[in-house]
Amino acid sequence: MIALNNSRALRNNAFAWLLLLPSLVFLGLFTFYPMYKTLLLGFYRKDITSFTPEFIGLENYATMMRDATFWKVMFNNIWFALGTVPTSIALALVMALFANRVTKASYWVRTAFFSPTILPMIAVANVWLFIYTPEYGLLSRLLKYVGKGGLNWLGDPDLVMWAMIIMIIWKEAGYFMIFYLAGLQNVPKDLYEAADMDGVSGWTVFRKITFPLLMPTTLFVMIVALTNSFKWVDHLWSMTKGGPDNASNLLLFYIYEHAFVFWDQGMAAALTVVMIILMLFLAALQFFGLDRKIHYN
């Protein structure tokens, strides 16, 4: 009997591992091996001057800490996250409340809000390039009436981050809206009916019922938004190249520059390690701190 059980368990295991094998091979090659590789290469000097890698310990990290541009890029990223995350979430919530109630033109409303989500970032960049261009861009043409048509949104270090933030909010608010739309479906209807019978005002209903019940959605969307603010850099390539004077540069684009523009591979690897740690931190935040409502198993 035990022997039979054993052979069945063995067959089960073999079958499962066989099913998992293809996925594991790709995960190993393109998720785990690169993490190991970048960790290792981060301890080496490998750039145009030294083509054979030279072990330098923590030198790359020390250089990074002294690099004013690195800190600027990190602060840009935090600034970028602060600018995009709360605003796009708040807007998404309002959009969802509206789209959920609206009966006429509901197709139009959802289409208008959601369509930016399915556009490639690189196309979005082109579209907004034609909005931000001084004198001829759409925004400049409108601002001409208040005498501000000459503002160089992408060329002015003080304005460029705002320009990026507005564009990203436009791009992702509609995406977050659909999670709130789903969340709203799960709010029990009788709660609203009870509130209605008691004559509770709409604002109170929102504050005491809707918003608290949507909290899991809000937390989830927040993590996605935070992650996006580190992942989205395509637009920089065609809009600003991180400029002017690194005013719009973000961490992932900084990695790209080190790897493929300056060819400083050791530093690119070390920066990637920083990025991985950041991502793991965000995941931990979600997993241990905020995500008690959503279970994986």
Partner: protein, 269 residues
């Protein structure tokens, strides 16, 4: 109070119009004669010349075919890897399940987007720089797809397995003849999200390709845009941008509900 609500509705309608403006603006630019691109006047002559010019000047047909091959290739392989792994997680008891689960979770926590540099080195070691395969390889396993499908598979009654076993089907056959067809709505959801993601992906294809034969349409667009910095070519860049976004945009306009449902799933792990 009622007026206040009416006012709020009106405001949100205005916002929805505002949200459509950027897209309408690029359409407007693309169908206007080149000579009118920068003029402040509003006239009503329209033309398709910009599209024709772009189509003749840039191999967008080749780029579109490349993107199509890449997207279909990735999704085709994903269908297989994802189905197999999802079945293992949903229906087979094996040693180390939770560890393997964590390994899969890692791909969601550390997405491929941020590993572009080390993955470029690995593709280089494989000698695959400037191939379509290079663009596809890092995405051929999808933990997101596995988790999504695992959830669906767990909802399929075990009776089906038992009945099929009685009929003499092996477990391998059960996967493809029973679970695979029953999972169709989830494959749809996963498919739309995956296809949109890979159609739109830019930075990774940019760094691993450098020829017209392998470049996807996003990279082609970016390079075209870069060569047209001056305002005189606005109309053409707008037309090119529209060519790139039109396939997905049209699909979205027709299958709006499916798109919204699918992207909703992208949040449920």
């Amino acid at each position: 109070m009622r007026y206040l609500i009416k006012l709020a509705y009106l405001c949100m309608f205005a916002v929805s119009v505002l949200w459509a403006v950027p897209l309408l603006w690029i359409i407007w630019m693309a169908i206007r004669p080149k000579s009118e691109a920068l003029s402040p006047r509003i006239t009503f002559d329209f033309t398709f010349d910009n599209f024709v010019n772009v189509w003749q000047a840039v191999p967008f047909d080749q780029y579109l075919v490349n993107t199509l091959i890449i997207v279909v290739g990735i999704f085709g392989v994903q269908l297989i890897t994802v189905t197999m792994a999802a079945y293992a997680f949903a229906r087979v008891n094996f040693i180390g399940k939770s560890v393997i689960f964590l390994i899969f979770l890692m791909q969601i926590m550390v997405p491929n987007d941020i590993l572009i540099f080390p993955n470029y080195l690995i593709i280089g070691e494989m000698g695959l720089i400037d191939t379509k395969l290079a663009i596809m390889l890092p995405f051929l396993a999808s933990s997101f797809g596995v988790f999504l499908l695992r959830q669906a598979f767990m909802g399929i009654p075990m009776d089906y397995d038992e009945a099929a076993t009685m009929e003499g089907l092996s477990r391998w056959q059960i996967i493809w003849r029973i679970y695979f067809p029953l999972g169709r709505p989830v494959y749809m959801a996963f498919g739309l999200v995956a296809v949109s993601y890979h159609w739109n992906n830019f930075l990774w294809p940019l760094i691993v390709t450098n020829s017209v034969e392998n470049r996807p349409v996003t990279v082609g667009l970016a390079i075209f845009g870069l060569s047209m910095e001056t305002g005189a070519q606005w109309s053409e860049v707008s037309a090119a941008t529209l060519i790139v976004i039109l396939p997905l945009l049209l699909a979205f306009l027709v299958f709006q509900r499916q798109f919204l449902n699918s992207f909703m799933h992208s949040g449920i792990k």
